[in-house]
Amino acid sequence: MAGVLVLLSIALITIYFRESSGGGLHQVQSAGATVLRPFEIAADRVSRPFRDAYGYFAGLVHAKSQNNRLRHEVEQLRQRETLNLSAASENSDLRKKLHFINSPSFPRGYGYVTAPIIAQPQAAYQQQVTIGAGSSSGIRQFDPVVTGEGLVGTVVRVAHNVSLVSLLTDDTTSVSATDVKTGAQGVVKAGASFDHVGKDQQVEQGDLLVTAGWKSAGLSSIYPRGIPIGQVTSVGQNEVDLYKHVQLQPFVNFKTLSSLVVLFPPKNR
C-alpha cells in the first residue's frame, strides 16, 4: 500500500513536471485550488484580528525610534519634492517641444487587480506566495506584481481563481534595472544584488533603483519602466572582475505582505 502511494507520488511529480501549464494535472490542481480557496480565505479572516493585534504591539516596540527617523526622512522628502515638481514641469515642457514618444511606464497605461495572499511559502528556500486571484480576473503568466512600496515579483503560474507569484527575492528572479540618479543599467538578481554594472558606470550608496522597462527588436521587458525596486546599500569593485559589486535593499518588506497588486496592460482583459 505504502509502496503504491510512493510510486503514485513519483508518477504525479513526473507527469506534472513534464506536461505543459495547460495539461491535465495542472487543470486538476487548478480546480482543487479553487475548491480550497474559500477555506484559506476563511482561515485568513479568522486569524486577521490576532495578527493585527500582534503587529500593533510589535510595532509599538520600535515606534519611538522609527518616529524620529521618519520625521527626518519626511523633511528630506519635502525638500526633494519641491525640486522634483520643478524638474517634472521642465521635463514635460521639453518633451512637448521634442515630440518625445514615451515607452510604457508604471502606472500609466496599466490595469491592475488587487488580490490577497492566501498561502505562504512552505520551505525556507521557496520564495513564492499564492494569491487569491487568477485567470478569471485577467491575470496572465509573467504579469508583474507590486505593492505601494515597490516591485514584489512576477506571476509564474495561473489557475482559474488563484495564482503563484515568484517574489523578487527568489533566486530565479532577474529584473533589468536602472539607477535613478546616475542612469547606470544592470540586472537586479534575487532582490539582493545589482549585477552587470560596468566599472565605467556610476553607482553610489543610497541610490534608488527602478525597473528599466527596455524594448528591443520586438521584445520587451515584462516589467514596465519606473517601478521602484530598492536602495543601494554597498558598492565595491576589484581589478579582476569585469563588473562592480553592488548590493541593495528592496523597498518591499516581504515578511509583512498581505495583499498584492498584479499589473497588466489593458489588452490582457
Binding site: A2, L8, S9, L12, L36, A119, Y125, T130, K255
Partner: protein, 172 residues
C-alpha cells in the same frame, strides 16, 4: 475504521489549511513550524503504517494543491514520513512517553533533508545551508513545542487499538 479515516482526513485537512495560510508566516531565521508534519507523526504513531502513509499522501496533495507547487512532491515526502513513523509506532514506540518527541525530531530532520534533495533534483534553487543550518534548529524547536498539544489532541481522537493483552482476573 471509517470513523478513523474521517477523523484523520478532517484533522489533517485543518492542519494543512492552517499551515499554508497562517503558520508559514512565522519566520524566525527562515524557520517555521510544520503543523502538517507534527499532526501526521501523531496520527501515524497511533494508527500505524498504512494509515500513516495514506494520511501523508492525502495531506501532501492538499498542501501542493493549495500552494500551486509541483504536485506529488509533498505527498512523496509525507507518505514516506507517515510510513516510517507508523512502523516505529507499531513496533516499539507507541507506548513510550518520549516517542512523539523523538519521532518529530527525527522526521523534521529527515523531511528537511529529503525536501532539499528532491527540490535539488527538480532543479529548484535550494540552499542547503539555509535549510539545514539556518532554518532547521528553529523549525525543530517550533515542531517540538507543537508536539505535546497536537499529540494529546490526536490521542483523544484516535484511541489506541487494543493490544490483545487483556487483564485477566482469576477467580477462586
Amino acid at each position: 475504521m471509517i470513523a478513523d479515516i474521517a477523523k484523520g482526513a478532517g484533522v489533517l485537512f485543518v492542519a494543512a489549511i492552517l499551515q499554508v495560510t497562517l503558520l508559514s508566516q512565522i519566520d524566525v531565521f527562515y524557520g517555521a513550524p510544520d503543523l502538517v508534519l507534527v499532526t501526521l507523526v501523531a496520527v501515524a504513531l497511533l494508527r500505524g503504517t498504512i494509515f500513516g502513509a495514506a494520511a501523508g499522501f492525502g495531506a501532501g496533495l492538499v498542501v501542493d494543491t493549495a500552494t500551486l507547487q509541483t504536485l506529488g512532491v509533498t505527498s512523496l515526502l509525507l507518505t514516506i514520513s507517515g510510513y516510517w513513523i507508523g512502523r516505529y509506532g507499531e513496533t516499539t514506540g507507541r507506548d513510550r512517553t518520549h516517542a512523539p518527541f523523538l519521532s518529530v525530531a527525527v522526521v523534521t530532520l529527515l523531511y528537511s533533508f529529503g525536501a532539499l534533495v528532491l527540490h535539488y533534483m527538480l532543479g529548484d534553487p535550494a540552499s542547503a545551508s539555509r535549510v539545514l543550518l539556518d532554518a532547521f534548529p528553529f523549525e525543530l524547536i517550533f515542531n517540538l513545542i507543537l508536539t505535546l498539544p497536537v499529540y494529546a489532541l490526536c490521542r483523544r481522537l484516535f484511541r489506541p487499538p487494543p493490544s490483545g493483552l487483556e487483564e485477566v482476573q482469576l477467580l477462586g
